[in-house]
């Protein structure tokens, strides 16, 4: 089956998708966007959280066919998404198309001998490098909320959505919003710190 959808503001098409494939698999293995993580693939950990038409979802529970014609934002597009938050449509901030990864480019990804285990980025990356980091991304680094970092992409997408909805969340609000995202390393204290920090900086900036 063929699936057409928008990822981080760029139109994508995936061919030969088997009906059972999840959105997570298509993003990671077909689009070359491994930022969304595969920790449980059963909707329990939130590591694969992306926004589907603006709504945070576990991409491991979304069948690839369900995203036909819809818009997906992943952690790779988070900085750009945050920078264009005022736009009407999720991910539409990249009208120029300059921040998408073409399928061709995505296919160039490979593990190189002697490299750091860091697979080279596709050209024209969707990391939002041009615009730097989203405030929530920077706050996670500054607060020490990243250890192994496997939970981080999902937490960032969820936390960013929380701050969009509720710019001044209480601790209880933060806990509630992030309760679907497991982290095994940090004990969550520093994740709370990070969200508080991002909220405070956001307020300062206004």
């Amino acid at each position: 089956m063929r699936v057409n959808f928008t990822v981080n503001g760029r139109k994508q098409e995936a061919d030969d998708v088997w009906e059972g494939e999840s959105l997570l698999y298509v993003l990671r293995e077909r689009m070359g966007l491994p930022g969304s993580k595969n920790a449980c693939e059963q909707g329990e950990c939130g590591s694969c959280t992306v926004r589907l038409d603006g709504v945070p979802v576990c991409s491991c529970l979304v069948a690839a066919g369900q995203v036909e014609g819809r818009e997906v934002v992943t952690v790779e597009g988070l900085a750009d998404y945050a920078a264009h938050r005022t736009d009407a449509h999720p991910g539409a901030g990249c009208a120029s198309g300059a921040c998408g990864t073409s399928l061709d480019a995505a296919k160039q990804w490979q593990a190189l001998p002697s490299n750091s285990g860091l697979r080279p980025r596709a050209q024209g990356s969707q990391t939002g490098e041009a615009g730097g980091l989203a405030p929530i991304q920077q706050a996670f680094i500054d607060a020490g909320a990243v250890q192994c970092g496997f939970c981080t992409p999902g937490l960032l997408v969820a936390a960013d959505e929380l701050l969009e909805r509720n710019p001044e969340p209480s601790d209880a609000d933060i806990r509630e919003a992030l309760s679907g995202n497991l982290c095994r390393c940090t004990g969550y204290e520093k994740i709370l710190d990070a969200v508080r920090l991002a909220a405070a900086r956001q307020e300062e900036a206004v």
Partner: protein, 799 residues
């Protein structure tokens, strides 16, 4: 920056105050991999991708103990898209087993399976689903055998032997072949001392099987190479230990197996053993194509060893004035079907079974069993966790019987520098046990009934049961509990524990740059951060590159046993010192004639310059190094340790000790048996905090894993069939952000004179005492005995 074209040193000597190099040790510098991790660019082992790669799949045993009568792979092989199906018969070398200490673990089961989930066959296919379906088409005929699941069934006279004809080095001294290893520790005379006791307290404790539950699944990519070897990109805790186990099974010399660490999504001991490494290599070598294996969560629960479940029987005596007279204990650890790290876990459990207390007369025995349960091995806290759960419960019981305050009672018996361990080893560095307890106790209490917002309705989110809205505060009682623990750092019992670092110093674009190359596995703990800090401190440079960890440099040892900052940090420090000496030598040669201080003064590298200890700048480091490159590789060892005597348990077995104390405040809904941990405060001595941000992060993370085992975490194995019942995140619960309380941390820094910078390994200690502190708090709230982890609602409501 102004162009520098000097041939002479940085002008005439000037009197400047000493320069400080930014980002050195003691600063909370940020992770060098942080940006990659928040943008999704950091490539974890499951993100590896290669053109033309195939997907590997493991077929695992559906029964715990059986003879394999027949394996039929014909249907699987015939499936379109399938490139290879491998069984035991396809193993290429004479060596068919691997193991950390005892090579008893088959790469693929041969003739017999010994636990539920043991790997039996492998498939490589062009789509993961094809591989899964092909694996499901493999037909295996099992003839089931009786299962051994506990001490009674393992040691019964007619018990089936899990490993017949054992010839490992523990086989000779164990009283039964189903015992992996046994360590007694006898010191003084416990029976005699018991006569002096005014109170004697006995207790039986059960510690459940915990899972590391790291989020990044076991995964990696094996790429066959033209020379007949293989390149493996994998998440592990110890590249060189993997290599040693992988190469013989592949029938390759070690240099033909090149390993590179890929991104590791947490480890906690669960990646010390081999999981998919050999399987991926076998498939890659057979098919001639790159093969990626990624476990799903279900398979992950079978793909790594767990924390040993344990039964612990303790007896303590004390005099009326609160002094411990003696301790007797027996600790039975269930090691499951294969040895893994069981022998070392036994050594730790026995030697740390008294806890951080002075007891002169002890009678201790710890054993690990072979059973048909899932194999158990390393997990954060490693044997010390189970013991701490039991001895801390005992401390509360003895104190209660004496009518003493539990913290004062502990302080009265607390070890200190100079105290003697039950193994006879003298604790020769600070041991601030009483002080750590004092600190957690002195901390202000969290406000009562936090769910009540002044004058308003209860915020159910702060109550036990939380958003389930199960109570509005009626039936909710509070309890407070304390615990403290002792953990060893590094590999003990005479193990030749070393780490290697290579450091290169050169000038790039006019600036001195250090490159640090080690094989240390960064598993999230922050080693890469502190290595850069150490290099900055020792070499006075700002720019430090961390080379990817691979097997092109000597072993760094394991990222476990709280040892990596001590060991590989120590290696980086030592190597940097050698590099510095060489740099100063070059400086002397080039510029010695310009200033007498080159010959006479103590020289340092700071802020990119060579300075005297008086703070006088002699030269720019860039000028010294111009045209030269210094490259040094060195090994670092901690002081030697000894094996414990097999009869008395005496011996200087451990390198260093580390201590943490906790105070838990819980609220329990006594009607429904639901627990809310309100606050979990830690005090820990870290010797020297190289990076406080990371230190606190480690303490909070470790504390949370202890909280998990106290109230929710347990792998449940059916006692009749030895099958795992809950291999999923739906059924194996780890704490969410809603289960985790505020965790204030108090860090003490009492230097250990024997350790690099005085530091203490710190990753594991907070996992020890957090569990018994929570249990003590729940006991205090409910008045129940609670001798088992985890505490479930039915234990609190008696249903």
């Amino acid at each position: 920056m102004a162009q520098k074209t000097r041939t002479a040193p940085a002008g005439t000597p000037t009197n400047v105050t000493q320069k400080h190099t930014k980002g050195g040790i003691g600063e909370s510098t940020l992770r060098p991999d942080g940006t990659l991790k928040v943008t999704g660019e950091f490539a974890y082992s499951s993100d590896m991708w290669h053109e033309d790669m195939l997907w590997g799949q493991t077929l695992r045993s559906t029964v715990a103990h059986a003879e394999i009568e027949n394996i039929d792979i014909s249907e699987a092989v015939a499936m379109p898209g399938v490139y290879a199906v491998l069984t035991y018969d396809d193993l290429p070398a004479k060596t068919k087993n691997y193991g950390l200490e005892i090579q008893d673990t088959p790469v693929l089961a041969h003739g017999r399976v010994r636990h539920h989930g043991e790997p039996v066959a492998l498939v490589a296919a062009d789509h993961p689903e094809t591989a899964r379906r092909a694996a499901a088409k493999i037909k295996i005929d099992y003839r089931e055998l009786p299962v051994v699941t506990d001490e009674a069934s393992a040691l019964a006279p007619d018990a089936p032997l899990i490993h017949e004809g054992r010839d490992d080095h523990h086989a000779g001294h164990v009283p039964h072949p189903n015992i992996v290893h046994r360590q007694p520790i006898i010191r003084g005379n416990a029976d005699e001392a018991a006569k002096r006791a005014d109170v004697i307290v006995r207790g039986e404790y059960t510690f459940g099987m915990q899972d590391q539950a790291f989020l990044g699944p076991e995964s990696g990519l094996a790429v066959p190479a033209e020379d007949g070897g293989v390149d493996l990109y994998v998440a592990t805790q110890w590249l060189h230990s993997d290599l040693q186990q992988i190469a013989p099974v592949l029938g390759l010399p070690p240099e033909k197996v090149r390993m590179t660490l890929s991104g590791v999504g947490g480890a906690f001991g669960g990646r010390e053993d081999i999981s998919m490494q050999i399987h991926a290599c076998l498939l890659a070598l057979r098919t001639g194509k790159p093969v990626k294996i990624v476990y799903n969560r279900f398979e992950s629960f079978f793909g790594h060893v767990h924390r040993h479940p344990a039964k612990l029987s303790y007896e303590h005596g004390a005099t009326r004035d609160g002094k411990l007279t003696h301790m007797k204990c027996k600790i039975v650890l269930d090691g499951g079907a294969y040895a893994s790290a069981s022998p070392a876990v036994v050594g730790n459990a026995s030697s740390l079974s008294v806890g951080p207390y002075v007891v002169d007369d002890v009678d201790i025995e710890a054993i690990a069993l072979y059973t048909n349960n899932p194999p158990c091995g390393a997990m954060r806290g490693f044997g010390a966790v189970q013991a701490c759960f039991a001895y801390e419960a005992q401390m509360d019981k003895v104190a209660a019987k004496l009518g003493m305050d539990p913290v004062e009672f502990r302080q009265l018996n607390a070890m200190e520098q100079g105290s003697i361990m039950p193994t006879g080893q003298v604790v020769d560095s600070p041991a601030p046990v009483a002080e750590l307890l004092r600190r957690v106790k002195a901390r202000p209490m969290p406000p009562e009934q936090q769910w009540l917002v002044a004058g308003e309705e209860a915020d159910v989110r702060a109550l036990p049961g939380g958003l389930s809205n199960t109570t509005h505060g009626e039936g909710v009682v509070r309890g407070v509990g304390y615990a403290v623990g002792i953990k060893n750092v590094g590999f003990s019992e005479g193990f030749d524990d070393y780490s290697t670092a290579r450091v290169r110093l050169e000038v790039i674009n006019g600036e001195p740059v250090a490159m640090v190359h080690t094989a240390m596995a960064e598993v999230g703990q922050g080693g890469v951060t502190v290595h850069a800090q150490i290099a900055r401190t020792e070499l006075g440079v700002t720019q430090v590159t961390i080379h990817p960890a691979d097997t092109q440099v000597g072993s760094a040892g394991s990222t476990s046993a709280s040892r990596q900052t001590y060991m590989t940090g120590g290696a980086v420090k030592n190597t940097c010192e050698a590099v510095r000496a060489k740099a100063l030598e070059i400086g002397r040669r080039k510029f010695g004639s310009y200033h007498p201080a080159w010959a006479t003064a103590e020289l340092l590298l700071e802020g990119g310059t060579v300075v005297t200890d008086g703070g006088e700048v002699l030269a720019d480091l860039a000028d010294v190094l111009e045209g030269e490159e210094i490259d040094v590789e060195l090994e670092f060892r901690h002081r030697p340790t000894q094996a414990f005597d097999l009869v008395t348990g005496q011996g200087n077995g451990h390198v260093q000790y580390t201590f943490a104390a906790h105070r838990a405040v819980v609220e329990v809904d006594t009607e429904l048996g639901l627990v809310k941990v309100v606050e979990l405060a830690t005090a820990q001595d870290v010797g020297k905090a190289l990076n406080m941000l990371s230190v606190v992060g480690q303490i909070q993370g470790g504390t949370t894993q202890g909280l998990g085992v106290a109230v929710m975490e347990e792998i449940i194995v059916d006692p009749k069939t030895a099958k795992v019942r809950n291999p999923s995140f739906t059924d194996y619960l780890i704490p969410t952000i809603l289960d985790t309380p505020t965790m204030p941390v108090d860090v003490l820094e009492l230097a250990d004179p024997n350790a690099p910078y005085g530091l203490r390994g710190l990753g594991e200690a907070p996992t020890l005492s957090s569990t018994p502190a929570v249990l003590a708090a729940i006991r205090a709230a409910t008045g129940l005995e609670l001798n088992k982890t985890p505490v479930r609602p039915e234990h609190l409501t008696g249903t």
